[in-house]
């Protein structure tokens, strides 16, 4: 059987997303406030980092522009992932209300439907803010062609890692619909970790963030390359170029968990 075209899935995704944008626009004040508010939350986040630096010369050897590069790149990757598939977090609600059953009867892949459902542009605020911080930090990098390439691959791979984490950990809800917050420790916790240079953590934490929850590949390793710094933990230099591999592996693992979850799923009505 020929697999259906991915392009077609993307079109379906875009159509459902557009539907939800129009729905959200029915409350224009809320729509605008949501976008501004989300930009504000992340914006103030960076103000927090800046305030930290009024008391510091550097954070474990990393200056403000260097931390901004780490923060901006991770935040950008997270914003892209969250805008595209943030709704997957709500899967527990779909299971409880029986909406997942409805979705399963439709001739569109379940994951596409779940991700596009209640699509919201409110994350545009975060996207803009992250882009501004990243742009500013980039002016402090000495660019070479290979660094440009690594920077581009960092953003794409970072988004893939976050895609994987969000989808993968949302699947917890196929087994328990109660403990959704458990997943936040890994998804949003992972995102928070990437705001800081990993040098502030003990070696064991860094290893966990490399091999278990691979958020170190979202920004830490590629940024070391962009900044031309040696790894304070002495990890192999090849890791600094390995982000795409980490992105693909995380994504593949997440899709596997997703399939297992869907197979395991039994409707609440049965």
């Amino acid at each position: 059987m020929a697999s259906p075209e991915p392009a077609q899935h993307l079109r379906t995704y875009a159509r459902i997303a557009w539907l939800w944008i129009r729905a959200a626009w029915q409350y224009p004040t809320s729509f605008v406030l949501l976008a501004v508010g989300n930009g504000l939350i992340t914006g103030l986040d960076f103000v927090g980092l800046w305030i930290m630096f009024t008391h510091l010369e550097d954070l474990k050897g990393f200056t403000l522009p260097e931390v901004a590069l780490l923060y901006g790149s991770a935040s950008l990757a997270l914003a892209v992932a969250d805008t595209a598939i943030g709704s997957v977090e709500r899967i527990g609600t779909y299971i409880r209300t029986g909406r997942l059953d409805q979705m399963m009867t439709r001739p569109v892949p379940l994951l596409v439907q779940v991700c596009a459902d209640q699509f919201t542009l409110r994350r545009l605020g975060r996207l803009t803010q992250a882009a501004v911080v990243f742009g500013w930090a980039c002016t402090h990098v000495e660019w070479t062609p290979s660094r440009v390439l690594v920077a581009a691959s960092m953003l794409v791979s970072g988004a893939l890692v976050f895609f994987g984490l969000f989808v993968g950990f949302s699947c917890v809800q196929f087994w328990t619909t109660d403990a959704t917050e458990f997943a936040n420790a890994f998804t949003y916790g992972g995102a928070t970790v990437t705001q800081y240079p990993l040098a502030i953590f003990p070696r064991e934490v860094m290893l966990g963030l490399t091999f278990v929850i691979p958020v170190a590949f979202v920004n830490w390793y590629p940024c070391l390359y962009l900044l031309g710094r040696t790894d304070p933990f002495g990890m192999p230099e090849a890791f600094q170029l390995a982000s795409p591999l980490a992105g693909i592996l995380t994504m593949a693992a997440a899709l596997l968990v997703w399939r297992t979850g869907v197979r395991h799923y039994t409707s609440t009505g049965s």
Binding site: S30, L33, N38, L44, M52, H55, R122, A185, G189
Partner: protein, 265 residues
């Protein structure tokens, strides 16, 4: 007596979700660990930043994680029910009950806060104590004052959330305002970074806004930073904001009631 009954039932309602509570404690603790290392790095480089030492800073982190749910920093609690009832129009039924709306929802929110305190508050505090050796209140007086301060923190937070929910009378969908107010709450409560680190006028402003009652004031009392008249002033600050904001709730409600009558024809 009625309000006590409302509060106990709210307590019980939240206690139904045990797995959710455990998952929440786990998540709060993970964030506690992350921020602890970040603050330890900061205070390693500058051991007297903001007049805190490193142990104060780490204690502050875990208190923040412990208070997160109790003060409903992200919104939520009984005011979410109110917003939904305003949107659907069910609030009309609430309004003709012979009980004040603000008191009813406040009692319910205090019940919720009590549940979150003994679970989501106690859990991370113990973990912080075992894993990071956080400081305990230096005197029984500080401990009692902390308890009082905590209740006031919930009341101030409730009043702000009530005002946010009330915007649904005019906007129908309050989610935008909720996110905005959440953004301010995270920043100005000292949840993101202790307000004592804020420089110059920003620090003065942040310490004067009602959100300072959420985390900064209770945490400073726990850490023994306020004694004598200073302690009374810190609690007075919270009482003042609680009074001003609860009055505002009553006024807004009166304005909104007229609106509902108009809507109902």
């Amino acid at each position: 007596m009625l309000h006590v009954a409302v509060a106990t039932r709210a307590f019980r309602r939240y206690s139904t979700y045990r797995a959710a509570t455990l998952a929440g404690i786990f998540t709060n603790s993970v964030f506690g660990v992350i921020y602890s290392y970040a603050y330890m790095a900061l205070w390693d480089a500058n051991p007297t930043a903001g007049g805190y030492d490193q142990q104060d800073a780490v204690t502050y982190v875990w208190l923040g994680q412990a208070l997160l749910m109790t003060i409903a920093l992200w919104g939520g609690g009984s005011t979410d029910d109110l917003a939904e009832r305003i949107r659907t129009g069910d609030v009309a039924i609430d309004l003709y009950r012979p009980v004040g709306l603000v008191g009813w929802y406040l009692a319910s929110d205090l019940g919720r806060a009590a549940y979150h305190l003994v679970t989501r508050g106690f859990g991370p505090t113990v973990i912080g104590l075992v894993a990071f050796g956080i400081a305990l209140p230096p005197s029984p007086l500080a401990a009692v004052a902390f308890a009082v301060s905590l209740v006031l923190a919930v009341v101030v937070s409730f009043a702000i959330r009530f005002l946010v929910a009330s915007t649904a009378f005019w906007l129908l969908d309050q989610s935008g305002v909720t996110v905005m107010s959440g953004a301010f709450a995270i920043f100005f409560s000292g949840m993101m970074l202790p307000l004592v680190l804020f420089p110059g006028w920003l620090g003065t402003l942040a310490q004067a806004l009602p959100w300072a009652s959420y985390v900064q004031v209770p945490a400073d009392i726990w850490l023994g930073k306020h004694t004598g008249a200073d302690l009374a002033a810190a609690l007075g600050f919270q009482v003042l904001w609680a009074f001003v904001l609860l009055t505002a709730c009553q006024v807004v409600l009166r304005l909104a009631t007229r609106k509902v009558v108009v809507q109902g024809g």
